[in-house]
Amino acid sequence: MIEVLAEKVNADPGLVRRGHYVSLDFLVGVGETDYIVAVREGRIVATNERRLPMDSVSFAIRAERDVWNEHWKPIPRRDRHDLFSMVAAGLATLDGDLLPFMQNLQYFKDVLAAPRTAIVEGK
């Protein structure tokens, strides 16, 4: 589902607008696989699997694959429906420089939940 992140975010003008001041790279860990998501002025310009250990990012958000898969369902189960609820339940971790993350918290929550609409649309 991470593959559709850029398409879904960039197609949502309200979400891109709210992320206007976001230009950074962050990491999404889906199980054992790390992806680096590059954001420029709210748009996702790249989503690539991390190649080198030295590829660095501002912050990292990690959860197991089954947790993300549940998170991306139209009506996720409790504790998997929201990033903070995943953290509260011990199902997700946050590391790195959290300041830009917190400054744009709802934007990043919505970016991470964006694949949900792809499922609704049957993609």
């Binding site: 996720p76 609820s85 300041l99 400054q103 918290l105 709802q106």
Partner: protein, 280 residues
């Protein structure tokens, strides 16, 4: 003339901890007084749907007030030189002062989140002053899962981060319009107020060592919590109910942390039988 809602709002001044506090309150209906306490970082607008429901207002005088520092109530004079922090004793005194100022006779008090915690303290300490207490999303023991320092600092917008912190506390099934109205209240809170409330909610309000002493034969206790609440979880609600003998716990499926404002229609299904039972 427009079709007015039945809610009326007024201001008055009451004394809390030896200080004059200008308070804003709203009410609708007549009958048994039902005092409603809003969540941390929000205000009394959360209860507007109850005040517009004749099934409730035909039997209850529904009253909601904004806590000092919240909504349209003033902060104290000299607020600019203070850091707001809600303690258990200050919260109890505020609710008690309100009920006394309004000359309420044996009211029912219903609070949500931090309001749901304080009503349990009131049931323990003043069981004969309240006809019943209803704790929405309220437990006697909670565990913080985030650092509240993020909520009040100059390089983060306090309103937006407060709303973003609690956005996941609204159930995914709740109507979008009410989800975002609930979050709007958080965006409008004063600087540091949500953080100051959470001192009571996360830290100072624990009393699982005393909650078993609540006498529900003198003051009935109802606990209603949403399935998607990740702070006052269904498990913590049921643990609280197990300690308060005679209390009644209801887990509301498909509901989050703000039942009265995030999904009024679903909440109605749960709260009407409780209010009918209290009145019977």
């Amino acid at each position: 003339m427009p079709e007015f809602e039945p809610i009326t709002g007024r201001y008055f001044t009451m004394t809390v901890a030896d200080e004059a506090m200008r308070i804003y309150m709203e009410e609708a209906g007549s009958g048994v007084p039902l005092v409603c306490l809003h969540t941390a970082g929000s205000d009394g607008r959360q209860f507007r749907h109850l005040m517009c429901d004749p099934a409730i207002t035909d039997h209850y005088r529904v009253i909601a007030f904004d806590m000092p520092w919240h909504g349209k109530s003033n902060p104290p004079v000299d607020y600019q030189n203070r850091e707001y922090q809600l303690t258990t004793s200050l919260y109890k005194e505020t609710v008690t002062a309100f009920c006394q100022a309004m000359e309420l006779d044996n009211p029912v008090v219903m609070g949500c989140s931090m309001g749901g915690r304080i009503v349990l303290h009131l049931a323990l300490e003043k069981p004969d002053e309240f006809r019943a207490v209803i704790a929405l999303e309220g437990a006697d023991r909670l565990e913080a899962y985030y650092d509240t320092e993020w909520l009040h600092r100059p390089d983060i917008h306090g309103g937006q981060i407060s709303a973003a912190f609690v956005s996941g506390q609204v159930a995914p099934q709740s109507p979008d319009a009410y989800r975002h109205e609930t979050l709007w209240h958080y965006m409008q809170g004063g600087p540091g107020i949500f953080k100051g409330d959470l001192y009571f909610y996360w830290i100072d309000g624990h009393f699982d060592d005393r909650s078993a002493q609540i006498d529900t034969s003198r003051c009935p206790v109802y606990l209603l919590s949403g399935e998607y609440d990740c702070s006052c979880t269904p498990e913590r609600t049921e643990a609280t109910a197990s300690r308060i003998k005679g209390s009644k716990a209801i887990i509301m499926e498909g509901m989050g942390h703000f039942p009265m404002s995030e999904n009024p229609a679903l909440f109605r299904d749960h709260i009407l039988p409780v209010l009918d039972e209290i009145r019977a």
